[in-house]
């Protein structure tokens, strides 16, 4: 019997690293871009055919527009976004010391509006908020993602990872079941990607508009028939944080185009 026990033990030892790994190694990480057809790629590559650039242009106009009772524009503090916002989006969601938890780029824009412009926050998925975050994130195009490197973020990345690994909804699926275990296969004809959030906010042809990563996450949750978390909820933020840290090293593409 000890012979069989030894074989079982050996098999367990061999399987353990695979069970623990879960994560896609850096050299195997692929942007959603590589799963797209040539037409959609061409659309993203040409800035005059990429509809996301319309929002970037709007965001550029909003950047210099004065808002709120402080009568200040983003540019009055931050100057030229082309230099001041370079690489910033690649670090988001980032840890906010005063709040003691990570905030997304959208939340940072609204915090800035509240604290420095004394303006009302922009609603999630509103055109102005998407335009501003697209304009800011566009300044990081080509920068390698480094979000989650801050040691203060460690527990939040772990929380996000837990959510990513946790089965939910009537279909009882976790994110990992598709995006770690089955990417490169198909779901009803559509390719399953690695879920690397490299180009948000991005233009989805299905939405016919720009949308945030939170919108994307919520539609996946609806897809597995789970109750989606609210916009800006700590769960979505930590999930976004984990996804960004999981995409570490991939270049930013904002505004990306996806089918």
């Amino acid at each position: 019997m000890s012979f069989w026990r030894a074989i079982a033990l050996a098999a367990l030892c061999a399987a353990a690293p695979a069970l623990l790994a879960g994560e896609i190694p850096p050299e195997a990480r692929r942007s959603g871009y590589s799963f797209m057809g040539p037409d959609t790629r061409a659309m993203q590559d040409d800035d005059t055919s990429n509809p996301g650039m319309l929002f970037v242009l709007d965001g550029e106009a909003l950047w210099t527009k004065k808002a709120g009772s402080a009568d200040k524009a983003c540019a009055d503090c931050h100057g030229d976004a082309r230099s001041s916002m370079k690489g910033v989006a690649a670090r988001y969601p980032a840890f906010d010391k005063s709040l003691g938890h990570p905030v997304t780029l959208d939340q940072r824009i609204n915090l800035c509006r509240a604290d420095h412009q004394q303006a009302t926050p922009l609603p999630y998925e509103s055109r102005d908020l998407l335009a501003l975050s697209a304009f800011v994130a566009h300044q990081s195009r080509g920068f390698a993602i480094t979000a989650g490197d801050d040691p203060q973020l460690k527990p939040f990345v772990a929380q996000g990872r837990d959510l990513f690994m946790r089965r939910e909804g009537q279909l009882n699926l976790a994110c990992t079941n598709c995006h770690d275990d089955n990417f490169d296969k198909r779901l009803a004809g559509a390719p399953i990607t690695q879920a690397q959030p490299t180009g948000y906010p991005l233009y989805r042809l299905e939405w016919q508009t720009l949308g945030s990563l939170e919108r994307r996450l919520r539609s996946c949750m609806t897809g597995v028939r789970a109750q989606a978390y609210d916009y800006g909820s700590p769960e979505l933020v930590t999930l976004e944080l984990y996804l960004m840290s999981r995409a570490r090293g991939l270049p930013m593409e904002t505004p990306a185009v996806r089918p």
């Binding site: 800035d47 055919s49 509809p51 650039m53 319309l54 242009l57 016919q208 508009t209």
Partner: protein, 106 residues
Amino acid sequence: MAAALINVPAKARRGDVIEIRTLTSHIMETGFRRTAAGDLVPRDIITSFTCRYNGTEIFRADFYPAIAANPYLSFFTVAKESGRFDFEWIGDNGYSSTASASITVE
């Protein structure tokens, strides 16, 4: 917000066939969708697009509800002389948007 992205070559040789690409921002609401309460969302689309080359109309397109949001158009013309392309989008609810681009023909 009316924004358009125009791609016209800055320079061309006389007689060259050049490609013009335009992308404009518009929701293109079909008029067939309903809200959660069951009310019809009124139609709001671009109905016509024209391109003039130094005042002469060279391209026109009519749009219908099946055209996607943020319509993209690509068309060709022959570069005859230096000058200006004027683009105009007209739509429901008095929507009107214009853009222009210049070209040097050698």
